[in-house]
Symmetry: C2
Subunit: 233 residues, 2 copies
DNA sequence: ACCTGAACACCGTTCAAGT
DNA sequence: ACCTGAACACCGTTCAAGT
């Protein structure tokens, strides 16, 4: 649509004269294919070779787009948070805004298999992560918190979300044997009488109600925010 | 000290007649060496081959003690929580008991390089993890909480601790180049004016005060517990 | 300018054979 | 009973050479 003299296009794609062979893949396509492959086979089986063959390219080619596998994973992590900083519904109280943002991030991490592991392993600092954090902190500031408290509170919640999603996905993709072994270990431990307080731990191992656990945790965290904000709800 | 007819020794080591060659290594020695190696080189460089050579053994030998590398990592994770369930000082209020237990787990995860990553990657269900969880839940129950609420609250806190330690160790062992690049990305982002609420985020990237962040988070979580316990402090 | 093909220095895991 | 030595099927990364 935009001709070669379009100043905006020239700005976003500086000095891009298509001399030589046009590229068969680009940054975006690699990331998309990598996330698709991740969802199919999991992080442990996500290899550069498999990704290359999914893109119909030789392995070495990928290193023209990402200097290292880590860099690719970092880009994948950033991409996962796409859309998390969309505007919130206008009529929400601040506590509900915090809950909504938390749910968004959890959903984003759960969207792809091992998403939480990918995100946790990387120090993402791209626009998606930054604008999400910025929005989260902003919601808290609007409730009357100081910026530094809002920052700490935000990262407390984000770390809980990551920790929770990590556990959730570990259970989701554990082999049936591993799961049965774990359940058995816990059951015999409880039956031994040495751990009287673990009676309610079984659903945690079998992963039946992670949604409830997550909502409980977020609500607990929001409650802990109370004293810091002047606008109590 | 205990002779061959000692009934207790016979119970802990059933049918152990030292015929054939005595073993040069055992479960415990492998775990200790693996944790030492982990601390030296980090999780990515912790290979079965390197571990074998640290123990002066061939690689294949290790598979006589741990069926898979995962099993070894699981045993390492369990071992890391040794001592976390020691009795608490008798004069602590319940909220301080929660804080003390949280600090213990954090310290345990931080003791070895990439400890949090090892622990997070595994679904540990050994005696250390179980008795620690049991104790944590027990402390909350003593404050008047119901067991199911205490269980959910405990795992909310534990998942925060893991998420926090994960981040902390990622920063601790990041290369100077990566750290500088991250800091630069955040700084230019803040300077652009698009992220007005990220002004207090720099110490989080450079990792100057993780202790303060951790204490903030735990206190926030304890505050969130308030309504669930009948014994407010 | 972009991609191929081949190589380098590794991995986890298995297993016959030795002692 | 325990360990060795060698192999199998992979890895991430690099780089000359082709088009």
């Amino acid at each position: 649509m935009s001709g070669p003299s379009d100043p905006l296009a020239a700005h976003t794609q500086p000095a891009r004269r298509p001399r030589g062979r046009p590229p068969r893949i680009d940054h975006e396509r690699v990331i998309t294919a990598a996330l698709e492959l991740l969802d199919d086979v999991g992080l442990d089986a996500l290899t550069m070779r498999r990704l290359a063959s999914a893109l119909d390219v030789q392995v070495g080619t990928l290193y023209g787009y990402f200097v290292t596998k880590r860099a690719l994973l970092s880009a994948m992590a950033e991409s996962m948070l796409t859309g998390c900083a969309e505007p919130l519904a206008p009529n929400l109280e601040w506590a509900d805004q915090v809950v909504e943002l938390s749910r968004r991030m959890r959903r984003a991490l759960l969207r792809f298999r091992d998403g939480a592991r990918v995100y946790a392993g990387i120090h993402a600092a791209g626009p998606n992560t930054l604008s999400f954090s910025n929005m989260f902190i902003g919601v808290m500031c609007a409730s009357g918190m100081r910026v530094d408290d809002a920052t700490r509170a935000t990262f407390t919640i984000i770390r809980f979300i990551i920790g929770h999603a990590l556990e959730e996905q570990a259970v989701a993709h554990a082999s049936d044997d591993d799961l049965a072994a774990d359940l058995d270990a816990v059951r015999t431990a409880v039956d031994s009488g040495d751990y009287p307080n673990l009676s309610h731990i079984a659903p945690l191992i079998s992963g039946t109600d992670f949604n409830i656990y997550f909502e409980f945790g977020v609500r607990m965290l929001v409650r802990g925010l109370g004293d810091l904000s002047s606008a109590r709800t």
